[in-house]
Amino acid sequence: MLEAKNVSAGYGSSVVVDSATVEAREGDVVTIVGPNGSGKSTLLKSIVGQARVFSGEIIYNGEDITNLRTDQIVRKGIGYVPQVENVFVNLTVKENLEMGGYMIDEGLEETMNEVLSLFPELTRHMNRKVSVLSGGERQMLAIARSLMARPRMLIVDEPTANLAPKLVHKVLAKIRELAEAGYSVLMVEQNAKKALDISDYCYILASGKLVFEGRPKEVLAHEEFGKIYLGLRT
């Protein structure tokens, strides 16, 4: 479905990600983990057109989307949820969802109802400004907003950053739920253990390079990876 082949990417002239290859298949949750500053978010940003790809290519459903503008990439069916500032704080919850569905010409109401059925907790806040939402609700809104564009694939950057432990579980469970509903998810996550629990496949990125890829249980079983790259205690 999505393949980033030998991608080197960064900002200005500085290379942050060095020749990384990742793949996300239909209906899978694929997680990229690694220490702080390893280039995980930059890799995601390069896929959605918010960081520059210096070399390599990004193929989505057989089409080359390398270095396209973000709005062009989103129009191809990829939803993006940034790590920070991922909702419009000056708009209401409903307006945020409407902006998520900006590209939809018909059936906005139906799409909103479908999305709200996945996130019923947002329903009671529809006409309120985002500032009244809790951290977890904001994160739910950010994901819901991206679903409004009817994407087939979601790219999610650290969805549990700054969330209370209870909410971490809730948000990750929701992401798994989305995969069960047919969405593909490519995610970067700091909460490595919890993220791997809901993932089908994972990559470990360190200092801009891929150091491992495999099934989550392989990573969790590997003492060295857990300790060095993921901060897991064995």
């Binding site: 939803g79 940034p82 419009f88 704080v89 998520g100 564009a149």
Partner: protein, 308 residues
Amino acid sequence: MPEINILQILFNSIVTGSLYILVALGLTMTYTLTKFPNFAHAEFITIGAYIVYAVTEQLGLGIIPGILMAFIVSGFVGVGSFLLVYRPLERRKSTMVQLMVSSIGVGIVIRYLIQQIWGGQDLRFKTLEFSAFNVGPIRMTMLWVIIIVTGILLVVIIHLLLTQTKIGKAMRATAANPGLAQSCGIDIDKITAIVWFIGAALAGVGGFFKAADTKLVPVLGWSVLLPAFAVIVLGGIGSFYGMIAGAYIIGLAENFSIIPLLSLGLSTDYKTAVGFIVIILILIFSPSGLAGIDWGGIFKRKKHRGES
């Protein structure tokens, strides 16, 4: 000292405030999206007035085609300056100061072009007759009434545009977070260009009203640009509703200052300075302008005091 007619001063304040809304609205819209003060806005104001002059006085086609042409030409001058100057500079990561200085350059180029075409002398709209009449104790002209009605209509239209339409919500979304707007599929270049068109077009129409009320000179825009900046700073930069309140507050401050100025035997020309003194006082207490004041908190505290 002449007799003071409070209702007349109040009416004049509303006329001044409405005129400031016309010119400040575009300025606040472009600032919100591109985050720099566009000094060439003065020339968007001026060129609109000259276009109406050309269409009505020189071509004799009437006022409505004149205003329409001013709207279109000023709009295209605005969007042209964005596409040809500011956007390329933004893409080269120019700072706010560099963009601001370049806007002064753009303004000078337009001003000299205007001077080249129409000359530097004072011009007046001779074919437009706005005779004065009385409504109770208030003396007014049809032009002033049109300025007020246009100001109010514009506020309502822009409010509806921003809150009820897809494109308006996309403008607010782009202003708040361009990167996120893009990830919603919004073409932010297109949205920004539309905002520059509307902002400059409104400035052009406002320029005509200012010129029709006074006279037409190549520096016309500068006479309203500074109060327009004052209005948006007072309202809270980027705040649409703050800008509206700011426009009428400045209008009231300027016109009511005539009373103390006359009683002190000073020239009423100082009224513009009084408007700025009001801004300084408000900014000392609320550096973010009117939009930065926690109105909800104030009302809550008042209510609590009332209850206790």
